[in-house]
Symmetry: D3
Amino acid sequence: MDRQEFVDRLDDRLRTDDYADLDASANGLQVGRRSGTVDRVAIAVDAAEATIEAAIDRDADVLLVHHGLVWGGLDRLTGLDYDRIEPLVENDVALYVSHLPLDGHQELGNAAILADRLGLAEQEPFGEYGTEYVGVRGTASDAYTTADLSARLDAELDTETRVLGFGPDEIEDVGIITGRGVDWIEAAAETDLDAFITGEGKHESYHEARDLGVNVFLAGHYATETLGVRAVGELAEKWGLETTFIEHPTGL
Amino acid sequence: MDRQEFVDRLDDRLRTDDYADLDASANGLQVGRRSGTVDRVAIAVDAAEATIEAAIDRDADVLLVHHGLVWGGLDRLTGLDYDRIEPLVENDVALYVSHLPLDGHQELGNAAILADRLGLAEQEPFGEYGTEYVGVRGTASDAYTTADLSARLDAELDTETRVLGFGPDEIEDVGIITGRGVDWIEAAAETDLDAFITGEGKHESYHEARDLGVNVFLAGHYATETLGVRAVGELAEKWGLETTFIEHPTGL
Amino acid sequence: MDRQEFVDRLDDRLRTDDYADLDASANGLQVGRRSGTVDRVAIAVDAAEATIEAAIDRDADVLLVHHGLVWGGLDRLTGLDYDRIEPLVENDVALYVSHLPLDGHQELGNAAILADRLGLAEQEPFGEYGTEYVGVRGTASDAYTTADLSARLDAELDTETRVLGFGPDEIEDVGIITGRGVDWIEAAAETDLDAFITGEGKHESYHEARDLGVNVFLAGHYATETLGVRAVGELAEKWGLETTFIEHPTGL
Amino acid sequence: MDRQEFVDRLDDRLRTDDYADLDASANGLQVGRRSGTVDRVAIAVDAAEATIEAAIDRDADVLLVHHGLVWGGLDRLTGLDYDRIEPLVENDVALYVSHLPLDGHQELGNAAILADRLGLAEQEPFGEYGTEYVGVRGTASDAYTTADLSARLDAELDTETRVLGFGPDEIEDVGIITGRGVDWIEAAAETDLDAFITGEGKHESYHEARDLGVNVFLAGHYATETLGVRAVGELAEKWGLETTFIEHPTGL
Amino acid sequence: MDRQEFVDRLDDRLRTDDYADLDASANGLQVGRRSGTVDRVAIAVDAAEATIEAAIDRDADVLLVHHGLVWGGLDRLTGLDYDRIEPLVENDVALYVSHLPLDGHQELGNAAILADRLGLAEQEPFGEYGTEYVGVRGTASDAYTTADLSARLDAELDTETRVLGFGPDEIEDVGIITGRGVDWIEAAAETDLDAFITGEGKHESYHEARDLGVNVFLAGHYATETLGVRAVGELAEKWGLETTFIEHPTGL
Amino acid sequence: MDRQEFVDRLDDRLRTDDYADLDASANGLQVGRRSGTVDRVAIAVDAAEATIEAAIDRDADVLLVHHGLVWGGLDRLTGLDYDRIEPLVENDVALYVSHLPLDGHQELGNAAILADRLGLAEQEPFGEYGTEYVGVRGTASDAYTTADLSARLDAELDTETRVLGFGPDEIEDVGIITGRGVDWIEAAAETDLDAFITGEGKHESYHEARDLGVNVFLAGHYATETLGVRAVGELAEKWGLETTFIEHPTGL
């Protein structure tokens, strides 16, 4: 497939432009030329030395990630930025990034797919972010206990979930914002959700959850964010491209 | 002691004014009237429902914390803010806050005291933040291995340190910024530190440490930040005040 | 009535949200918890020590005012702010504020009701403020002289109107922006109004009125702004609540 | 005297440049060419149609005022701005403006001279405004009562002072910021002044003075600000120029 | 014609208001009063001493230009600004300005008329600038060579075109943004235009054109911008006004 | 020489850090790694496809230019930016940039060296830009006529100078800001310079020079800016490095 067509299809499907003014991440084609073709796509959560090397080892034409290399622009191309971008340039591997567009996507997104995995029905957007949403909420047909939901997350995501269990023990209404979604704990409380699932916490989330009486499930930033890029990989497979997923958990 | 004098002494000793334009936290007297007296001071890391209730139970006149309630101003006094501030007002307990001034203090600060505990010599300021510093660096007389340093942190801080061990195994030069100090990993690498100790990590810290070849020790946000407020408590004892420390770890 | 329902009804009726980005005042529920009930509502122009004490004396559950306590956010809760908010918190009196929404409301607003009192027909919005209006204009069926209009204002508002009488002596088309509306004198001139009524002037208004040839009537900030809150009080009465108006003129 | 020299001497004496980034007013030569000579200087508080016409009638080469025509720049030169500037241009009358530099000047300024008139000793700067001050404070050798001080202001300034008499009846320490100085009421309270004198009030000043327990004297914006320009006029006389004061009170 | 009507007609026809937030130029009536009448209109590209004097010599009531005197507001009215505005005021000549509105106008604009002169068909807006366009693109029925197009521009505009001939020699699709349009060279490349015509270049345009492989024709800032004001002059003639064009090329 | 040492020496000598907040250009090492060595330095005015290719052809380790590739940061690394940066990365050629530091340098800078070439004595900084200067002024021992000075510039810089000869014919005091220095024409007039030399003009410079009565010499952006980089090249030669100058005039 022409590289430009690959980029255009993804931008269109993921609504890249709609997040252009919201996201510090430069989404879409972030590094590389628009000409040339794409046969093999490497998929990873993060763009970093390890995943870039793996993509090159696997002869990828494009590395598609959730977390790219350019956040709020590059002041210059030196140091850590240079070290990571150099192998991409030398091996003509383009970097395609989808950060918030892939968090908020109601079908291919990290939260949407996790909601599917947890069997949540009546899904709708959750987590306002400017003019868009970055998560999903839904309702469990059979209520979970906090222990059940924690175990289910561990099993689905191969993770060790930490529970701030300050809410009700019976859980039906669940909100999900993967990664660093703890800024929406108060929104979860105001929406009367029984549980809020996200990736990594921060210190002040503990007291926020406690004082608001909300169940917060911290299932890991990496663990909650392999889902979206994998789904985009499956899409690319349908377009006839070869894909390969580069697993590199951070434990965070 | 007059409440105003207590506030003035602390502001002076902690250089509160020098951080006024740098810190989102409203440092100094954050909630309460300036008149009245102080006999008993409760000390905690965080101002939240649990610690505020404990301070009231212990008949404190002032609650002194590292993390207060007002960050960047209050838009209105409702919801979670109201619920936390109400018991302070009803019981006339003042809230004194010292955030960055207590991180960066080269004698009473979180990092300075941890450096003492680890036996670091030749201490000097580390971690530029605008016109000030928020941490400390120093040199171990006997080199640590990563395992030794991790064990020492666990013992000193009653915590479970997580190590991103991408640097040298022999550690002499150590930088410390407690709490959420991971934004200074690159500064640690540029200064050729053998190890950088902080509180909590975030997902991208993993690859940043890995690609820069730095040892990062994540010893817990709460665990690394009881030291400064305790030291201020000892100071208050010397001024003839009664103090009480409210332990409430968050595990984060 | 549930307190939350009371707040929701008022926010809805007064279009609080539409002024959220325009007004430095934190409109709506400004201080207090959302739970609990409302039986008695105290009404005043200003939230200050005198009116807050009166509201407490009269056993009010809510104090509803035009001028609240939070303008552009609170940096901390100390000093004058603490002294005013403390009795509200101690007595669990909520503070509901409606500033620009009540200036611009075309039915319950200060200007709209004054226009009714003056017998102005064909009323329409006047005084653009971003995307909204903060006043009203209308036409007198029988023309006023400046002396007549001044006397009529004195009688209706129990005030002593000061006239900057630089316009025509026969007045038909009248614009009204209560309180500190003098920034719209030039707008009044451009719209060819015969008279512009507002609350308090400022020094430069004199020459502005003189050089533009406009009649400006300064009827007092307090005097022109009791109308809107009284109208909201009548509305609350209709909802079955007991109301009490706290009169406290400032003479300004 | 050369016009340029006249401008340079005033800018130097009044420290015009030190207020350049603080003041919305374009201080110094605001309208006119720098070439030519100055023989006669008209002095007024405000630049407006009436005072500009009077300056032309009196054959002035320069009109020197406290309140000029350009505040924060001119978007275009039409309407009221054109009408006021046109006669200056047509008659080659330059406009020299000194706003905050003349409020804060510790010798020629409005507040400094009023302090002299009231017999205040130990004068020092009062009223911080960025890096400068805009007023003066001092101590009366014999204490005033509020009634005495009010009467004295009426006599000295030919005005009708309004007193917000919420402070002590015996007045020794007095702060003065002429014109619209009411934003410094809280500063006056924090400095433990017995009285604060300014020009015009605003509605919220009433409750602010009341709740802080401060005596505020509102002596009129115009009345308190003839002193500085008159003093500059005397200076110009000493330089050998002819001066004429244009009296045009606004009553505000 | 009444001056106000003249201004209103032009503002309406040129869509002055639509460019209000986009253009540093104060478009519409920039200097002068709105009352009075217009009989004779002088037309020029630039407002400057030479053209203003010529307008006065020719007894014009209004000087209509593309480049006015106020860009981003006047801080004060002195120096060069005073020297240029003074003769306008003294002779009561109003200044009407149309900058970007006249660049982007699809019928009367500089680019649109040049496109007509070059015989370009299928014209449509080119050159996004915020919410508007500032140029035109179209297609030549018979392809030009670069030499032909350059010669044609020289003949039509009485200029000496400089060609950065880095694109194809056969030219069909042409974009035009007069004056200083070089910031749109990359847009021309992305739109696959065969040539981009503008007024003046800047140093970096050379390499930008070269590296992008675009033909850029620099036909002179003055030379490309007499067309729009002349067209507006013809419109004024149709309204019954007398017009006179003041030719004053800058050679730039 | 170690690459890092080369960069440090230049940064120190050119005072790169002092311009960090003033210049949109990312001065110093702009692209490339800090490790490795430098033996051969290519010197050019502009970084662009042609000069980058030439630097690679000549086996340079570093390309040192006045105009780099990053102005105000890179949003992403694609398109024209990618095409220019790719060959640098692939061939491990570092890019060192010195923009304003090299304009304002009083010894090695473009203006300073041109002043030497023209025989100007008593040189001092000219052209304030924030806290720094970007040019030089000096006095000719023997006065030039405008024709002489133009001819001298043509000879020294191999250019065709265009003269806006609106000032005195006898020229002694000369200001120089190379490149796009026309924003300082008014400063030249206020400093009573007889002539102002810069690189390229813009349309409005014509009337500005005319109305202010200043001689402006436009000697070409490229032509006036080869001097500084050549001087830095000579410095590098003294350090024992091999240098090569890449000539590529733009004619602008």
